[in-house]
């Protein structure tokens, strides 16, 4: 038995043990025991994934009595990378949940579901045939649904989110199942190696089905409607696992299709993925930038990030078709780096949001403020992760986005000649989309961090906030550390990632200098550590001069220095998240279509004097109101009609069966 086999087996064993422990342990011990076991599952997955990524082999065969190929779990390098991503997030989430869960979040069901969710996620990338892939996929979906529903009894919105989530998950599952069925029918096998060679006709059908299925899991427009409902309503550690890890399984599915199963698609496949990815990126970040609910903001930003990942994936497919190999490889590695860095920063951000909710009970940014002084560790971790999300240098997000932009600007040309008209239009559009997305992400995360952690508290709850327990701080700090490490040492990481997808990794990405990254085919170099050294050199004189003058001219602290010219500037006069995004809301009025409701109450004596003004503004999801609502209304109307047919009368049902029997007999006798 190799180490890999032991790792796979151990994950299953620990998963079973965790389920049994959750069922039998006393309520006071449940969170602690469950958290430790889940962390062990994640650590095992992490080591197994690392082994697979470095080229280790080993497989777990599960024999079944059905007449088909046996189920085989044997992660390859790419699968190993994704096992690494999901189990890395799993470690953070398990540590965090040991002290964050209480009440319904720590129920027996929730702790049974947690190991299922983790094991399911870790085994999807290990599957080498469609049956075990779908099996692990369903375990993952079931586990996450149960976790989401933990608090359904006390909050009605959780129940509604649960219905949306189940429906959309099953829709995704249906598309993926159909995609595999098409491939299996055309090729006559279920294992990935036999699914590969097929005709263009079924390949096109399978591609569209897979794009719909995996796109739904990866929160791409227009299948993202579950995201703004589910991620905010789930407990924060579950949102972190869903957004940081589960969504990456959707990305893995996309890569499985584009890199392994159907690698040589026509040009329109790449363009289709780019269009879907670009639309998701723009729509997601626009919604995120105008949202005042911290978790809704993070949920929509997930759609944005996954959009960028798929944009890179599509660009890579398109460019590979035109033999622009260097740019194609760089785009693919950029997409993978985006996925890795998103796992790090988004899970930290969701855990940070959980810490804010833990401390204040609020997730509405308009009622937060001044938390930086009250929760320093959370503030630092959230700040670093926000920089990652805004793609600011020396964080992981920056390197990934830089690589994506480099591959895009070098994609339009090959050896001085234009590769194709399609690429020379697609690349500028893609650069513009990435740029606008990056700009809006900057605003979004300045808003999220600045409004929540700086300035004065906007509510009593925020003023009374206290730092969260040490274990939660630890996992937040670990997450922030990942974000920085990925940003400071992109070279070795990018080189490792390139080995998982590229046939010729050294030509695509190399590590140079102190952890710097170079793209030899494109001729671009980036060394974040050197950038840090340079900025330290220019910063030292400035800081020294500040320290010297701070000695000679110490600062004075007053309650409110100028207050914008007023003497009674109260905390609620500060800008809120809603007002912060107001200019943007006006600029993008046509896309977001906010609904505003202004009610003016006049003083009884005179219509010229106003007693009270009440303004309500809501931004609904355009896709939900325009695309899903009509369909749902249609189904509901059908349901109302059908209700008359089935009104509960036993006589009526007996006569239905009698008529049915008659029809059957008539048909048979014909």
């Amino acid at each position: 038995m190799t180490g890999m086999e032991a790792g796979l087996l151990l994950q299953l064993g620990l998963g079973a043990l965790a389920v049994v422990t959750a069922l039998t342990a006393a309520p006071s011990l449940r969170s602690r025991a469950g958290g430790i076991l889940c962390a062990l599952i994640a650590v095992t997955g992490f080591l197994t994934g690392l082994g697979a990524m470095l080229g280790g082999t080993g497989s777990l065969r599960i024999s079944i009595t059905l007449p088909m190929d046996p189920l085989v779990l044997a992660p390859d390098r790419l699968g190993g990378l994704f096992m690494l991503i999901v189990s890395g997030v799993g470690i953070l989430v398990s540590l965090y949940s040991m002290s964050s869960t209480r009440g319904p979040d720590a129920s027996r069901t929730a702790w049974v579901a947690m190991p299922m969710f983790l094991v399911g996620m870790q085994l999807v990338p290990a599957a080498t045939d469609s049956v075990s892939f779908l099996l692990a996929w369903e375990i993952m979906t079931l586990g996450s649904t149960l976790l989401l529903l933990a608090d359904h009894a006390s909050r009605t919105r959780v129940a509604s989110a649960g219905i949306w989530y189940s429906a959309m998950s099953q829709l995704s599952f249906f598309f993926i199942l159909a995609g595999f069925a098409v491939l299996a029918a055309a090729s006559g096998g279920t294992s990935f190696s036999s699914l590969q060679a097929i005709e263009p006709g079924p390949a096109n059908v399978a591609f569209v089905l897979f794009l719909l299925g995996f796109g739904g899991k990866a929160e791409l427009v227009p299948l993202h409607v579950w995201v703004p409902r589910v991620l905010p309503e789930a407990p924060s550690h579950v949102s972190a696992a869903m957004s940081g890890a589960m969504v990456k399984i959707g990305v893995y599915g996309g890569l499985l299709v584009c890199v392994r199963l159907l690698p040589d698609g026509p040009a329109w496949w790449g363009i289709a993925i780019m269009v879907v990815g670009g639309a998701s990126a723009l729509y997601g970040i626009l919604q995120a930038s105008v949202s005042s609910d911290l978790k809704v903001l993070l949920a929509y930003s997930t759609t944005e990030n996954m959009g960028l990942v798929f944009l890179g994936l599509g660009a890579s497919m398109l460019l590979r078709g035109y033999d622009a190999q260097a740019a194609a490889d760089a785009a693919l590695v950029a997409a993978l780096l985006l996925a890795v860095s998103h796992a790090a920063f988004k899970s930290t951000l969701f855990l940070g949001a959980g810490a804010i909710i833990h401390a204040t009970g609020e997730r509405n940014l308009d009622r937060l403020g001044g938390l930086g002084a009250r929760m320093p560790v959370t503030a630092t971790a959230f700040g670093i992760a926000s920089l990652g999300a805004a793609a600011i240098p020396i964080t992981s997000g920056f390197v990934a986005e830089w690589m994506l932009l480099q591959s895009l600007i070098h994609g339009g040309r090959l050896d001085g000649a234009v590769v194709s008209v399609a690429a020379s239009v697609a690349m500028p559009v893609a650069v513009a989309v990435v740029a606008l997305t990056a700009g809006l992400a900057l605003l979004t995360f300045v808003k999220a961090y600045g409004i929540a952690f700086l300035a004065r508290p906007r509510s009593i709850e925020a003023a009374d906030a206290r730092e969260v327990p040490p274990l939660m701080q630890l996992s937040l700090a670990l997450g922030a550390l990942f974000v920085l490490a990925l940003g400071l040492l992109p070279g070795p990481i990018a080189a490792l990632v390139a080995h998982t997808v590229s046939p010729n990794p050294d030509a695509a990405v190399q590590s140079v200098g102190l952890g710097g990254v170079s793209l030899p085919g494109i001729g671009a170099v980036l060394d974040p550590i050197m950038l840090v050294v340079l900025s330290a050199l220019v910063a030292i004189p400035v800081i020294v001069s500040i320290i010297v003058s701070a000695r000679r001219y110490p600062h004075r602290t007053v309650e409110l220095p100028w207050g914008g010219g007023g003497s009674r500037a109260r905390p609620r006069m500060q800008y809120t998240a809603t007002s912060y995004a107001e200019p943007l809301m006006r600029v993008f009025d046509d896309v977001l279509k906010p609904s505003r409701d202004v009610q003016v109450t006049h003083v009884a004596e005179s219509r010229y004097l106003v007693e009270r003004v009440r303004v309500e503004q809501r931004v609904s999801d355009v896709f939900e109101t325009r695309l899903y609502r009509p369909v749902l209304n249609l189904i509901q109307r059908y349901g109302i009609v059908v209700r008359h047919v089935a009104n509960g009368s036993i006589h009526r049902y007996l006569s239905y069966s009698f008529v049915a029997l008659l029809i059957v007999l008539i048909v048979v006798s014909l």
Binding site: I392, G412, G439, R456, T557, V558
Partner: protein, 313 residues
């Protein structure tokens, strides 16, 4: 080694040049408007005065008020290090990649926006919100004009782009390059809070962007915020001038060449400052909600530049 010397010269030069540039811009404007003006050394005197004052801070303000100005100055100084202003000799591991340069500039943008929010007043938030909205909308123009510049040179490394232009000057007056340069200039005016996007000489709440964010800062906090913004303006004007008129920049290291480089960039930046100032006399600030239209226009120019350079080639 040569790269280090050039970077050092650029930093020192621009620390002296930036306040003078602001002084020149203000003095030219005053002269044209028929006022006497305060002379070109006033920014220097302002900074000296502010550095010798005890800063006043609010009880609720956080470390951001202290760190923000430093971050802004460091980001602007990094621009002076990385941009090819005096010479085009880049660092081996940190070349003057335009995408990196834009991101370094964004560090300063974010720092300033957070300082604005940290004050805890309506003004700071308002300025910060408007500033970030403009920054977000400028980003596509910036990156697309970089894309357009990168196509003839085959790389986004600025020193190579400038050298390409030096070797084949016909690139500079090609329509593609002119379009891209106009788009970049509009983007830079928006980034540095100049007319017609922001009015640097006003303290009226309806017009403020930059001033609103630094309203609560005082003493050395304010001094460093001002110096950071001035440095950024000077460095970006240097970038535009070297793209438009690259002659005089050092490509092979020598002492005489260095002196020529220093003189030429000083002259170019100050001339561009005078031009900017003269232009601003004839411009009024546009409404905040017309800024997107202006930026959409510049975006269209940059997009045309990119697609045209593919079609021409």
């Amino acid at each position: 080694m040569n790269a280090i010397i050039i970077a050092f010269v650029q930093v020192v030069l621009f620390i002296f040049l930036a306040p003078v540039l602001i002084g020149v811009i203000r003095q030219v404007r005053a002269t044209i408007e028929g006022r006497a003006g305060v002379g070109i050394w006033q920014p220097w005197r302002d900074v000296r005065k502010l550095l010798a004052k005890n800063p006043v801070r609010a009880t609720d303000s956080s470390w951001m008020l202290r760190a923000g100005p430093v971050a802004l100055v460091v980001s602007s100084l990094l621009l002076c290090v990385l941009l090819p202003l005096v010479g085009t000799i880049p660092f081996a591991l940190v070349p003057s990649d335009l995408f990196v340069i834009v991101s370094v500039m964004l560090i300063g943008v974010v720092a300033l926006a957070l300082v604005g929010l940290d004050g805890g007043t309506a003004f700071g938030g308002m300025g910060s919100s408007r500033h970030m909205t403009v920054a977000a909308l400028v980003e596509p123009t910036l990156l697309l004009s970089i894309y357009a510049f990168s196509i003839p040179a085959g790389t986004s490394t600025l020193s190579v782009i400038v050298e390409t232009r030096l070797l084949s000057p016909e690139v500079i007056i090609s329509p593609v390059s002119v379009l891209a340069l106009v788009a970049l200039s509009i983007a830079i005016m928006a980034e540095t809070a100049r007319l017609p996007i922001d009015n640097p000489g006003t303290h009226l709440e309806v017009t403020m962007l930059h001033e609103a964010m630094i309203l609560e800062a005082s003493g050395r906090d304010l001094a460093w915020l001002e110096v950071g913004s001035w440095l950024k303006l000077a460095a970006l004007l240097g970038l535009v001038s070297n793209l438009a008129v690259p002659w005089g920049i050092v490509t092979d290291f020598s002492a005489i060449g260095l002196a020529v480089g220093v003189v030429s960039i000083t002259v170019k930046v100050l001339l561009l400052g005078v031009l900017l100032s003269v232009g601003e006399v004839f411009l009024a600030k546009v409404r905040l909600f017309q800024v997107p239209e202006l930026l959409a226009g510049s975006f269209a120019l940059a997009f045309l530049a990119v697609t045209a350079s593919y079609l021409v080639a």
